[in-house]
Amino acid sequence: MKRISIIVAAMAVSSGAFAAGEDLHAAFQTMMDNSFKTTGIADKYRMKQLDFQRLCSVEKEPSKKVMESIEAQQLKTIRYPADGKYFGDWKKGEKIAISGKGLTWTDKTRFDNGGGCYNCHQLSHKEIAYGTIGPSLQDYGKTRGKTDDVVKYTWGKIYNAKAFNACSNMPRNGDAEILTEEQMKHLMAFLFDPESPVNKK
């Protein structure tokens, strides 16, 4: 009898804690729903989370198993160039890497965006105003070579970084339609071309 009451008490405590967590979660959803509005191209719908966004909205990284499952799903989103051509014009790529514009509620259209690469990465030997949230990509092509594997991996990383690191800080440039296929080709040239200031001092 005594044992049963202990079990019942333990269940009550755990369900109480569960209920509090549920309440907090519900309160959070209500708060977010009441706190944001559509302005210009930035629809309120943007506050709704994709599954992986929700799983990555935590203090500590999700488990290895969860990460791998996200990465497998995201890998399926990557579309490689239909014409098999990966490289555009590195000079255009540099401009795309410099521009951080696009997709805010003060932008007129959602289809004219920069890559914002310099916000987080070092790239050209000549540009000193680079961010450090991502790794340095200086000498990218020079140090990694231009093998099919490296080229394909780099395209995939630009297209959807979450395919290789589930909770990466890097946006899904292709999958989220931030950049066009043509823009990504220009960025590829900026990274790999021997004449690009990424590789040439």
């Binding site: 959070f28 977010m32 944001f36 509005k37 309120k44 509620w105 946006p171 899904r172 989220a176």
Partner: protein, 271 residues
Amino acid sequence: MRQKKLFLLLAALVAGVGGLSSPVALADASADAIARYREMIADGNPSELVAAQGEELWKTKRGPKNASLEKCDLGLGPGVVKGASAQLPRYFKDTGRVQDLETRLMTCMESLQGIDPKTIVDGKWHKGERETMAALVAYIVTESNGQKINIDMSQPQMKKMFELGKMAFYHRSGPMDFACTTCHGEEGKRIRLQDLPDLRTQAGAAAGWGTWPAYRVSSGTFWTMQQRLNDCYRQQRTAEPIYGSDATIALSVYLAATAKGGTVLTPGLKR
């Protein structure tokens, strides 16, 4: 005379930004924020002009009720301005809400002066009643300069807002999958040349929360905390936070509670 001093100060700031180009200067840039701040404002902060307008507005009879804000209770009793913003946000019994400085001022403007909060919530930055709000904020936060960040977390409503603010801080969404943590969740990072405080830590939160609201040299305008948070979300590419909404207050509680014990250096002076 004052104007000349301000001009020299702005010139020095611009020169300072240019000087950030060498790696050595970059390392120094993040070294001692407080020392740098004191140096920067030694000859005055352009916020002083805004704060002077704000003090005037605080005492001026305005609105349908033709009353001043001198009886406004910012948490330390009616009319007490000194040290008030160092202890905000706070849970207010009379409204039954956790309020930051700006939403509390909206309450006072409505109850004492009869000014509809909608004119601020639906307004535009640096226009109309939002401009009035910014001036009032500049005045009030100046009166907490040098105090310790010390918000009262004893109420359950504050504890709940802290938890909700923390959840908002980690909330990833939108076309770029960003959250506050994307830029403010690691030590020693920067965007372009801009140093980013790690807002999860006491030191980082104090550096951030403790120096806003601030005068922005690049735009030549005074920014309230609501405007600072609004622009953070704009750059995250989310939808727009509603002025004074609970998400903005919850985030403020999370930041201020994390920054507890840090020094209030408001109004700040920013790039």
